[in-house]
Structure formats: structure tokens, C-alpha cells
């Protein structure tokens, strides 16, 4: 191996040439080349399933590419494992976290070093870490267990880890999807500054044009595993970039909002309390009513009890006190009640919360219907035929990109898992819909599609509770807005009587 890491001390350039990766019958990457200059902040764009993650995982040595070579500062390097990549100063933040949950932040940092000492002198390390943290614009509690950190803090820690390891070629796979816009701007601004000073080179996968335009200088676009274009991010227009991403596929027209005549109250949360895993109260006395044909958006900075509230509604967390009522009847979140009241939901992190990763796409899509005709006869005899037929139909209707209904759902790209779950939840007759961050990590075409679907359900008369950390999403979809802060709802307003600033102030707890 290259024992003099070419990257130490300055920003390296990286070229990947002719990268090809085949998964069974699928060419996930087909002769893709990318050229990232030293000190540039390069965006890698493409729709869900285009092969962006696959490309960077090949560069990282996580997958062995079937073809292709990687040049670092113009010299060919052989990277067969993430360890080789690390030795060459190439680091990556993956779409899924790679921190060890039961270790503290400090332990995660120290053990990630290739030269971690056999016996760790915590006094010395703590001082060194504190000095390192002082030079960083954002910080993370070093002695907290990673499992107790919020998603935003974990993401910051992932990036701090790369800087701590002096990895000057940084690959970030959708790094801002868990951050608030403020946090994202702060972080990208910092990285952009470091890149401009030629301290690091960044290759960032993103679905957010706003970020790409504001922080990146170059971009490369992939589509269905092929290179479709690259250019200067500052001068090329968003319209041209998106054309490279989706080709000539038409984007679905947004569904408009149909004026509804103020339906009856359907979903009612009455004094809902819930505790976190340590028994501390995280949801405190939440009262909220959602009418038929109405979307109520719950805005809030992540970690203010929204996820616990969604978990309560989806039966993953017990109610500590209070009640949930649907059309005046008490609702106990279990499978029977979901069916009876026609409650559907899309929780956050669907791969973890709404699927069985190793089961096939068809089986995952059938979770709501496998014990009913036509999939099951007499309530227990399952026929795979109708199940697959239904899955094929839904896969086509929701444009889920998969190798077929039999592929394990964990092999789908992040965005496509989301679509498969949505296909399952929205294809029936919906009375109550509970969605949490539904567009997390989706490309703009899918975002448009999924928001339309939600709006359509509302127009058909469903009561929709939308929990989202994306304020734009709330403003676009909601009929009424509620702001959650410190575990309670401290502000509710009709959308036409409020604005972004007022909501923002309440999100900050005022």
C-alpha cells in the first residue's frame, strides 16, 4: 500500500475513471467517470437509485468495483477496503450512521484513529479532544453515549470524525438531511471555507439544489448508472441540472388543494404524555384535533418530542397518559384498530421502522393485506401469486426502482424504500394518515410525487397529521400548523394567519 498518504496536509484531487459495478442483473454503475479538483466542493447529483451511493462506495473500497481505477493527485491508488481509503486520507459519511451507539463520542473518535494507542490515557486524550473541538465551529458533548445524541448531533460527530482523522478528501452522502436548515448552512459554510483555503476537498451527494447552488463549485450528474453531465455549479441553472438528472421523464404535476367545507373532527389527541427510554417525560400534554380533509402540520426542531409522538401513534411507544380518539372512539394503536379505523402511516427512517429489511419487496408491500383476500384465503392460507401481482402493480404505479418483487427490500436505494412503504400505506382507503418526514432523502421528482399523494389523500377526505422538520414542506402542505417545542405544542394557527417568521420563533421556544 501507499505508505506515504498523499493526502496529508493539503487538499488532494481525485479522479475515478470507468467505474462499473454490477449487482446481479442490474448495472448499478456503467462506465462512470468523475473528476474532482483539489480544494473543490463537488456535488454528485442524480435521482433516487441513480447509483450515487454505489459510486462513492466503490471509491471507498466498500464495494469492489467490477472495473475502473481511482487516481489520487494524479497517481493511481489501489483501494480494496475502507481501511485502504483511510490510509489514503479518503473519508466518508455514509447515508446511515456508522458511529458505535454504546460508545461515547470521545471513545468513537479515539478508536477511529489508525494509531489509537493500546492503552488510552483519557486525561491526555480529553485535553487533546477539547483543543481540537475549540477549533471547530460546532460541538458535540464528548462524554455522552452516541445512542443518546440526536440525529443532528450524530451527523456533526460523523463530520468531526473525518476532520479529527485528518481525512482531506471527504465524501458526504446526503449529510444535511438530518440537520435543520440553519445547522446545514453553518456546517456547509464551514466546509466550503476549508475547501476554499485548499485544506480539504469535498464530494457531496445532495438532493437539495439550494445547497448545491449556495456552496458547491462543480457538479456531476448520474442517471440510471450512467454519467449524464457535469459543469460549474455556479453558472449552470437548476433547470439544466434537473434535466440531466431526469432526462425527459415528465415530473408529476402537483395536486392542488381542493377547498374542503370543514369536515368533522376525526383524530383527536387528548392530553397525550409519553416517556423516553430512560423514563423522562418527552411528550407533555399534547392536545390536537385533526378534521376530515385537513392536513395539520407539526413543525419543530428535531428532538423536541415529535418522534416520540409519532411512535406513540404508531404503537411503538406506550402512552404514559391521555388518550387518542378517532371519531370519538378510543384508539389503541394495534393492528386490529389500524384496520378498523383505516389508519395508515409513514414513519421516519422507513427501512428501520416500517420494513423488514431482509424480506422481499413484495412481502413488505403485503404487510397490510397478507391476511385478507385475495392474498389469503380463510384468513390464513397465503397465496404468493396474488401477492406478487399486487406488488408488481404497486411497484409500477409508484415507480419503485427495484430488481423485481423478490429482491430484499434492503437492496433498494434509500428513496425507493420510502416509495415502497408509501405504496403499501396509500394504496388503500385512508381515513387517518400519519406521516413523519416523508420526503427525507428523496430527489425532487419523488418529493413532488409524494407531496401530491399526501395532498390527494387530504382532498379525498382523510385527516392527515404531518410531522416534519422541513418548514417548507409544512408551509406547502398544511391547512393548520402546530409548533412543538420542549415536548408540548405551544402554537397552533391556520396557515393563512401565520408566516415563516412567527413559526420559526415558536420553534425556538418563544
Amino acid at each position: 500500500m501507499n505508505d506515504v498518504p498523499a493526502a496529508k496536509g493539503h487538499a488532494p484531487s481525485l479522479q475515478a475513471i470507468g467505474m462499473t459495478k454490477v449487482f446481479g442483473p442490474l448495472r448499478a454503475l456503467d462506465d462512470v467517470s468523475i473528476n474532482v479538483d483539489a480544494g473543490s466542493f463537488h456535488a454528485l447529483l442524480g435521482e433516487n437509485g441513480a447509483g450515487k451511493s454505489t459510486l462513492v462506495k466503490c471509491i471507498m473500497g466498500f464495494y469492489s468495483g467490477d472495473k475502473g481505477q481511482v487516481l489520487l493527485d494524479g497517481q493511481e491508488v489501489s483501494i480494496r477496503s475502507p481501511r485502504d481509503a483511510r490510509a489514503n486520507g479518503i473519508g466518508m459519511v455514509y447515508q446511515h450512521f456508522t458511529l458505535v451507539p454504546s460508545l461515547t463520542a470521545a471513545e468513537n473518535l479515539v478508536i477511529s484513529r489508525a494509531d489509537a494507542p493500546d492503552i488510552i490515557d483519557w486525561g491526555k486524550e480529553t485535553r487533546a479532544l477539547a483543543a481540537f473541538m475549540d477549533t471547530m465551529p460546532f460541538r458535540v458533548p464528548l462524554n455522552a453515549q452516541v445512542s443518546s445524541l440526536s440525529a443532528g448531533e450524530k451527523q456533526k460527530l460523523e463530520i468531526l470524525k473525518l476532520l479529527y482523522l485528518d481525512q482531506r478528501f471527504m465524501i458526504l452522502d446526503e449529510p444535511t438531511s438530518v440537520l435543520t436548515p440553519g445547522e446545514a448552512d453553518e456546517m456547509l459554510g464551514l466546509l466550503g471555507g476549508m475547501a476554499a483555503r485548499k485544506e480539504i476537498t469535498v464530494l457531496m451527494i445532495s438532493h437539495k439544489f439550494r445547497e448545491v447552488k449556495a456552496f458547491c463549485d462543480h457538479f456531476t450528474v448520474l442517471r440510471r448508472g450512467r454519467f449524464t453531465g457535469s459543469g460549474d455549479a455556479k453558472t449552470v441553472s437548476v433547470a439544466d441540472m434537473s434535466a440531466m438528472m431526469i432526462g425527459d421523464t415528465p415530473i408529476r404535476e402537483r395536486s392542488g388543494r381542493v377547498q374542503s367545507a370543514g369536515g368533522r373532527d376525526v383524530l383527536e389527541l387528548a392530553g397525550v404524555f409519553a416517556d423516553d427510554n430512560d423514563g423522562a417525560s418527552v411528550v407533555k400534554s399534547v392536545n390536537l384535533k385533526v378534521k376530515a380533509g385537513e392536513i395539520v402540520g407539526i413543525a419543530g426542531v428535531s428532538g423536541n418530542g415529535q418522534s416520540a409522538l409519532v411512535e406513540v401513534l404508531s404503537g411503538q411507544r406506550p402512552l404514559a397518559d391521555g388518550g387518542i380518539f378517532i371519531r370519538g372512539e378510543r384508539f389503541e394503536p394495534n393492528r386490529g384498530a389500524y384496520d378498523k379505523f383505516k389508519v395508515f402511516g409513514l414513519p421516519e427512517e422507513p427501512l428501520k421502522n416500517a420494513t423488514v429489511p431482509k424480506m422481499s419487496v413484495a412481502e413488505n408491500i403485503a404487510f397490510r393485506s397478507f391476511d385478507k383476500p385475495p392474498v389469503a384465503k380463510l384468513g390464513w392460507w397465503m397465496s404468493p401469486g396474488p401477492m406478487k401481482a399486487k406488488a408488481r402493480d404497486l411497484i409500477a404505479r409508484y415507480r419503485v426502482k427495484t430488481q423485481g418483487p423478490d429482491a430484499p427490500i434492503e437492496t433498494l436505494s434509500g428513496g425507493n424504500v420510502q416509495r415502497a412503504v408509501l405504496a403499501r400505506e396509500l394504496s388503500g382507503d385512508v381515513d387517518v394518515l400519519i406521516v413523519a418526514n416523508p420526503c427525507f432523502g428523496l430527489d425532487f421528482a419523488s418529493v413532488s410525487e409524494i407531496r401530491s399523494q399526501i395532498m390527494e389523500q387530504r382532498n379525498k377526505g382523510a385527516a392527515v397529521l404531518l410531522v416534519s422538520e422541513d418548514l417548507d414542506e409544512i408551509l406547502e402542505l398544511s391547512d393548520r400548523v402546530a409548533v412543538m417545542s420542549g415536548g408540548t405544542i405551544n402554537y397552533v394557527s391556520k396557515i393563512e394567519d401565520t408566516d415563516r417568521n412567527t413559526i420559526g420563533q415558536h420553534m425556538a421556544g418563544h
Binding site: 477496503s81 475502507p82 455514509y94 456508522t98 458505535v100 451507539p101 477511529s112 489509537a116 488510552i120 483519557w122
Partner: protein, 305 residues
Amino acid sequence: MDNAVLTVLIAMLGGAIRVSTPFMFVALGETLTEKSGRINLGLEGNLVLGAMVAYATSYLTGSPWLGVLAAGMSGLFLGALHGYICKLPKVNDIAVGIAMMSFGTGLAFFFGKPFIQPQAPKLDSIPLGDWTGNPALAQALQVNPLFFVGIFLAVAMSWAFRNTKWGLIVRMTGDSAASAKAMGVSVDLVRFLATAAGGFLAGIGGAFLSLYYPGIWNQGLSSGQGLMAVALVIFARWDPIRAIFAALFFGAAGAIGPALQAVGITSGYYFFNAAPYILTLVIMIISAGSKASARDAPGELSITK
């Protein structure tokens, strides 16, 4: 009456010291293995084989400490075998563990036949209670050096899990194999080593049984201590120091029955003999239901996944 209470308490102290050692070693070994993300249910096999090998070695060489070492090596062998088989694709560690338990005890009974009769030299103990002038207390405070080795090991392990590179790597492997791989750590190798080392400790636990207390070798020597110790690991929430306390507690509870009998309370003798099991069950139900225990469990264990 006061005297009787004292007798029972002294007996419990003695029980804690005498009976706990094999539990300590097996539980510490299992803690190490489980921290790396694998379960070895077969440590009962290591315990019994270790007891046999220790006894035989001590008999043949005349040195009980050589017996202890040999017992450790036999446990290392069984642990390494478990670790190796689990590396093969599509193998379930729990099933392998149960197979290894039968394999270990089977081997011990097969090779152990000729050693049931002869007398092997035993391990000596350190009399720590002679100064008290109380013969019962002096008897209770006869402590085998392995007891202190176990406590020292627990402290060392607990320190190492926090303060050494290897400790952190074991915890990382046990909690998130994906992170370990992303860091270039060979997950299989770490688990193999942790299982082998855990097996070594369990083997030493066996040596204590045959060479100190009860200090014989026969086929009924272990009454499931190896299995019980594996359960203690969950009870101790994967913490070496808590494992020591669990073992002491278990030993003390086991002394209740005989001690009550000695002071003349004979009713419910069998009930009190079952006390350690009942108490453990009760405490397990209480503590396993708590959310704290779910958080301490290594994320990669096949029971928690």
C-alpha cells in the same frame, strides 16, 4: 437465636466466597464473548471438561496449578472451536453453543472415567480468618487464590473495556459490526479471539470445582453452574464488576438451605435449596424488564437483534 442468625450469616459469607468462584470465571468469560457480539451457551461444556482436565493433570503431574492451566487450555480449545464454527456462513451461535455443551461434557465423561477413583492433589487456600478466634468464621474465610484472581480479572476487564484499544474494539464489534467493518476491523477475528478467551476463563472455573470445592471429579460435579453463569451475565447487564456481585449473591443464596438445616430449621429444606434459582429468576424478571438493561445489551447479539 442471635447465635443462629450469626451462624446462618457466616455460612452465607462462606458460601459466597466458596461457591462463587466458578460462576465468576464463567460469567466473566461469557461477558467478554457477548461484548464482542456473540453468545456462547456452551460454557457448561468448558466447565466440565476443565474440571476433568484439571483433575487429571493434577493427578498425573502432582501440580494442581498445572492442572488449572491445562483446564484453561481445554476451555480455550472449546471456545476456539465455537468461534471457528460460527465464522462459517449461516451458522447460528446459539445452536453451536448447545452442541458444544454436549460435546464438552461428552469429552469429559469419556476421558474422565479413569480419574473418578484416584485422589489428586488439591489447590491450597489462604486462611484469612484465623485471627478472629471464631472457628466458624475462620472456616468461612478460607479463601482460594482463584477467588482473588477472579476479582482482579473483573476489575481489569472493566478497566480494559474503557481504557484500551482492544477493549473499545471488542465493544465496537459487539455493538455495531457495520461500524467495525467500516473501520477495517475484522469482525470475525475479534469474535473468534473473544470466544476463545472466554472459553479459557470458563475452563479455569472448572478447575476450581474439581481441585478445590467440592474438590472431586465425577460426572455429577456440575449441576448446571455453567448455564446459570451465562444467565448471570444478563443479570449483570454485561458489566464485569456487576458479574462478580451477581456470582457472590448467587453463592450466598445457595448457602441458605444447608445453613438453615444446620441451625435446626428443616422445614422447607428443598425450597431453600432452590433459593438461588428463585432469587435469580425474580431479579432477572425485575431487571430484564427495565429499559436500562435493554440499553446495555450489545447491539449485535442474536437475542437482541
